[in-house]
């Protein structure tokens, strides 16, 4: 069931534009009158202690807050850590979240922490590992799981499948939703010299739970999905292309540092709303 959908078949009301809640900009987020959807890094929430300052007020307003995991390592060869799965499930309950999200990536192997989200090879073997880990995770989760493919600066030599086939197969076999990061789509296609629309056309867009929109910057010939720069016009154009094909129920600005003045954040949120055809949430 996509977010916003209600049991009983009533027409789902889309969430529209949201943004990633971060403590550094909590005051800005709290001041957005039209906000109905935000995302919080799951690992920053204690499932039983006090919620981060500012989050309770958002929940009281009825804003849907989605926990976004970054440390589960669903793409790892070894089974996911049951304690991390339990944490994600507890946070989802705590926030009464409509869904949770995690990455198709690995962050540790053989007990060694990478500290980054690392891409997994697009092979049958890797798909089996991801599918098993997603099954272990969703078995414990009270709500649906959305999977986010990551931006990768390189491809593994043993890739057997195209990105679209790889993702579609994972979604089909797990029943999970897709968290599509258009900035990643843009970054990957630009760095690989491909057309991002080709990927959009091949993905099961009806499975998109929500969309990340973020900024990036070019560095030594490669485009980096930094989350600390402004959203480039090409990414906004991709949002428009995506919404023309199948508009997702929610899109959100993902900013993780180097936060700009409030007016610039407002302008970015408005630009995303305009590109997607959703109402502005800033006034």
């Amino acid at each position: 069931m996509p977010p916003g959908a209600r049991p009983g078949g009533a027409a789902p009301r889309p969430y529209g534009v949201g943004l990633g809640w971060r403590p550094e900009i909590a005051g800005f987020v709290a001041g957005l009158p039209g906000l109905r959807f935000a995302e919080v890094v799951a690992e920053s929430v204690h499932p039983h202690g006090d919620l981060p300052d500012g989050l309770p007020a958002l929940l009281d307003r009825g804003v849907a807050v989605v926990p976004h995991g970054v440390r589960l390592s669903l793409g790892g060869a070894e089974p996911v850590d049951p304690a991390r799965v339990a944490h994600l499930a507890a946070v989802a309950r705590r926030l009464t979240a409509p869904l949770v999200s995690e990455h198709i990536a690995f962050v540790r192997a053989a007990g060694i922490e990478a500290g980054h989200l690392l891409p997994i090879p697009r092979s049958r073997e890797a798909i089996d590992a991801v599918v098993a880990n997603v099954a272990r995770t969703t078995a414990e989760l009270p709500v649906p799981l959305a999977l986010e493919p990551i931006a990768s600066l390189f491809d593994w030599p043993d890739d057997e499948l195209s990105e679209a086939d790889f993702l579609t197969e994972i979604l089909d076999r797990t029943g999970a939703l897709l968290l599509l990061d258009v900035a990643n789509v843009y970054a990957n296609s630009r760095n690989r010299g491909e057309d991002p629309l080709d990927l959009l056309d091949k993905l099961p867009l009806d499975r998109v739970a929500y969309v990340h929109v973020a900024g990036g910057a070019e560095h030594q010939g490669l485009y980096h999905d930094t989350h600390t720069d402004a959203v480039p016009p090409e990414v906004l154009a991709l949002v428009t292309e995506l919404c023309a094909r199948h508009r997702p129920p929610a899109l959100m600005l993902e900013r993780d540092g180097d936060y700009p003045p409030a007016a610039e954040l407002t302008a970015e949120l408005d630009a995303i709303a305009a590109a997607a055809g959703y109402p502005a949430i800033t006034a």
Partner: protein, 299 residues
């Protein structure tokens, strides 16, 4: 052996301790009334510098202004002196203008409070807050400190009795303890300091909760919140917020991180008054030693 001053030791110590408790309780009660302020006073319409004054006095008001001017790009440092780095922003307060003007002559942060224009802007700021029942007036402070006279007189009596009692070869242990307590009480009452009234202090707590996103614990993005957010962050959460905003600048400008620690600030004065009344606790333990057979008693 004759009783010192014709009063038996146990009688004197009991009377002395009762007098001590009476002074402490009356002083505390009087302060509560003096520092109560206007219960209906509002703080919603206060500017950051007024909030800063209530929270940490002149120094935090200056720091808050510096924070706002820095975030607006109007202030920098050269060596450890403040210098102008841009025009004075539109719509600033008299304190902002005074500090910005003072920076044209390269001034150190700690000398700002004594600078003529800054001093006068701070006095105006305090005057306005006093009239609204948010800041404690110097008149009320003077009245509160008068209680030190009562405590001081009690200390003097105790010391004289201590001397005479010792000369008389009477036990003076309990009296000595009571005198120490009275001297401490006198000292606390004489240096009574208080900036915000009780009403202002509780309103400020609400403000701090409402603007919790500006707390240094949140690593707030001052670029997002702007100059007003920076000034309010310093006002509510102390100089630590200035280090969060711009560590290099704050260090060069010799901002004293511990100067106003947000949460302590204005309330420290009042809590010390509770301290003095709780010192009666130790006085009553003296009283407990009423049956002073062979032990040390009231001379």
């Amino acid at each position: 052996m004759q009783d010192t001053w014709g009063i038996p030791g146990p009688t004197f110590i009991v009377g002395y301790v009762i007098a001590l408790i009476a002074v402490a309780v009356l002083a505390a009660a009087h302060r509560k009334v003096l520092f109560r302020g206007d219960k209906n006073a509002r703080v919603d319409d206060l500017g950051p510098q007024q909030v800063a004054y209530l929270n940490g006095g002149d120094r935090l008001a200056v720091y808050s202004s510096i924070g706002g001017l820095r975030a607006a790009g109007a202030l920098g440092t050269s060596g450890s002196a403040l210098v102008q780095t841009g025009p004075v922003p539109a719509g600033v307060t008299p304190l902002d203008s005074a500090i910005h003007h003072a920076a044209s002559g390269r001034i150190r942060t700690r000398d700002l409070i004594g600078e003529q224009w800054v001093r006068s802007a701070l006095d105006d700021l305090r005057g306005g807050l006093e009239r609204r029942g948010l800041a404690v007036s110097s008149e009320a402070l003077k009245q509160a400190r008068l209680w030190a006279l009562a405590a001081g007189a009690l200390a003097l009596i105790g010391i004289l009795r201590l001397i005479d009692g010792a000369r008389n070869n009477k036990p003076v242990g309990f009296l000595f303890v009571a005198v120490v307590v009275v001297v401490f009480l006198t000292w606390r009452l004489a240096r009574t300091r208080r900036i915000a009234t009780g009403a202002a202090t509780s309103r400020m707590r609400e403000l701090r909760e409402r603007h919790g996103y500006l707390s240094p614990a949140q690593s707030p993005s001052y670029a997002t919140y702007g100059a007003a957010g920076a000034a309010l962050g310093v006002a509510l959460f102390g100089a630590a917020a200035l280090y969060e905003l711009d560590p290099a600048f704050a260090a060069e400008a010799e901002i004293q991180r511990a100067a106003a620690h947000g949460f302590a600030g204005g309330s420290s004065g009042s809590s010390s008054s509770c301290g003095s009344s709780s010192s009666c606790g130790s006085g009553s333990s003296c009283g407990g030693g009423g049956g002073c057979g062979g032990g040390g008693c009231g001379g």
